[in-house]
Subunit: 126 residues, 2 copies
């Protein structure tokens, strides 16, 4: 069965009806929220689509894992670390993070940095 | 290896540097373009992320297949058919299309209807 998940965001804060704004999986990271917009509860078996939002000055944890990520920036600006390199990112930019690649997102702007992130279902926690 | 794919869109037409604007897989459909923003060429093994754009008055083909889709509307407005139901869609709305579910997207507005669509890699053609 299909699902329509209605957008309910305002003022650059992206929200969806019925989608909880969760804390980040790493409890030491306070500035990041996560919303699962497509997940296992919808019947999706192969991947999840999450929306992360990083507050100004905040950053995600420095991660490295076997699964890859596909990220699309929806709002704000900042930096993406990919391996040993750091890249400026802004609206619409796409970041593909390969398996075992060190990665981290940092909000260097004044607005929330928000992005969609696709992950294989079993690795949807991070 | 990670990839940064730079956004180069203007005026609501979403484009990315180095990403070809392809015709729709169904040659009978003229009003739809496809851009692969994350795909096999980037090293992604499990899924692809595509951006589809439907011109005003146009629609995607009426599809039904074993793989599911996760869709996020980025611009424009229209209707999504899911099974026997039709839903109005606009910016930010998320559509999850389950396996074997009949689906079709139609642009009923004056602007392009554009959306990201995640698909398992082997089914990235439609």
């Amino acid at each position: 069965m299909g699902v329509i998940r209605r957008y309910s965001g305002r003022g650059g804060r992206h929200r969806w009806q019925g989608v909880a704004v969760e804390s980040y999986p790493d409890p030491s990271v306070q500035a990041v929220t996560k919303q699962v917009v497509v997940g296992q509860d919808d019947g999706a078996r192969n991947y999840s689509v999450r929306y992360f939002e990083i507050a100004p000055g905040g950053c995600s944890s420095l991660d490295r894992h076997a699964h890859d990520h596909a990220v699309v920036i929806l709002t704000g600006s900042g930096r993406a670390r990919l391996g040993e390199e750091t890249h400026a990112i802004g609206f619409g930019d796409v970041v593909y993070i390969g398996p075992e690649e060190v990665h981290q997102f940092e909000n260097t702007g004044a607005e929330p940095l928000g992005f969609l992130c696709v992950a294989s279902r079993k690795q949807a926690a991070d």
